[in-house]
Amino acid sequence: MSEAALPSTKKTGRSIWRVIALLAVAGLVMALALQLRARNATQPTSGAAPDFTLKVYSGYDGGLGKPEIRLADLRRQVVFVNFWASWCVPCRDEQPALEQVWRQYRSKGVVFVGVDYVDTEPAALKYLAEFGVSYPNGPDLGTKISQKYRIQGVPESFLIDRQGNIVLFKIAPISEAELIAELDKALAK
């Protein structure tokens, strides 16, 4: 190797390290930015509903006969997704109306899905029995579903049309009249 080649090799080595350091910093900044963006994101209020799979509580498959419910499998039906918890007081207020409307609409191509958010199973089962809930219900394992829907608390509800798009987002308890009106609108589409 010639003497003249030595400084050039050293320079190339330094440049590589600089590029690596820059890429590492850029990657880190990008990862942090993505995390920040995800944290500041709000609930989807329109467009395609994020798909999810819910493992239902034993005896709470809503007559679907499956231990797991996948949203994508419910396409061509109107789906009402309700996030709730047994410790949530407003959830108790809306629960009788939800069960009532479900019984009224279950034969009209409507599916209700209850997603139990950060709850304990014994308390959740007690709650479901107390209100005589008969539509599919299961725990949000790992809070994966609530993260997809970016909920900020409970109760929160999403109405999904037959094409799989969100047509209603409700951050408070929903009344029987409002739910019926929205279901009729979605079914008429």
Binding site: A31, S86, V118, D119, T120, P122, L141, G142, T143, K144
Partner: protein, 171 residues
């Protein structure tokens, strides 16, 4: 007469035995009830030792052992039930992590993206020390000797020449 007294004594003893038996059953039920109400032999300290390693599911960064929301009360009850059922603390922590996700852990997990929380401070420290060493070495390094070369002869300055010439003429 004596026969009647004997019969009465036997009946009295029988009654005594029945009363004693009932008292024993009642005492047993009472003890079982008290123990059951306390969740077996599980103490609040045992529950809180696990709860303090978890976060409240609905508040931001509030440890489970000090949070009074209904959700936290239920979670602590579940910990008590699991301890009474003979589960080990690590099993219970793993259950909560699997059921509710990593964010319920007070101490972030060491793997995945959150693992950066553990690694980055050390990486930053090493990088900082390395930069400091490089800067200090550059600052304290002896400057390379500068080879002095004879300054090239400047072209004759016509004004200087004129000035010198005029000064000579004046003398």
């Amino acid at each position: 007469m004596q026969e009647a007294r004997g019969k009465s004594q036997v009946a009295g003893r029988k009654t005594l035995w029945i009363v004693a038996g009932l008292a024993a059953v009642l005492a047993g039920l009472l003890i079982v009830g008290v123990v059951a109400a306390q969740g077996g032999t599980v103490t609040d300290d045992q529950v809180n030792a696990i709860a303090k390693r978890l976060n409240c599911p609905v508040c931001e960064n509030v440890p489970l052992d000090v949070c009074e929301t209904q959700a936290c009360v239920q979670w602590r009850d579940l910990i008590r039930q699991k301890l009474a059922a003979g589960e080990k603390p690590e099993q219970i922590i793993n259950y909560f992590q699997a059921t509710y996700g990593d964010r319920v852990l007070q101490e972030p997990p060491r793997g995945g993206f959150t693992g950066l929380v553990w690694i980055l401070p050390f990486v930053g420290l090493v990088a900082g020390v390395a930069i400091l060493v490089i800067v200090l070495r550059r600052m304290t390094a002896q400057p390379a000797p500068v080879k002095l070369e004879a300054a090239p002869s400047e072209p004759a300055d016509e004004y200087r020449e004129r000035l010198e010439r005029e000064l000579q003429e004046l003398q």
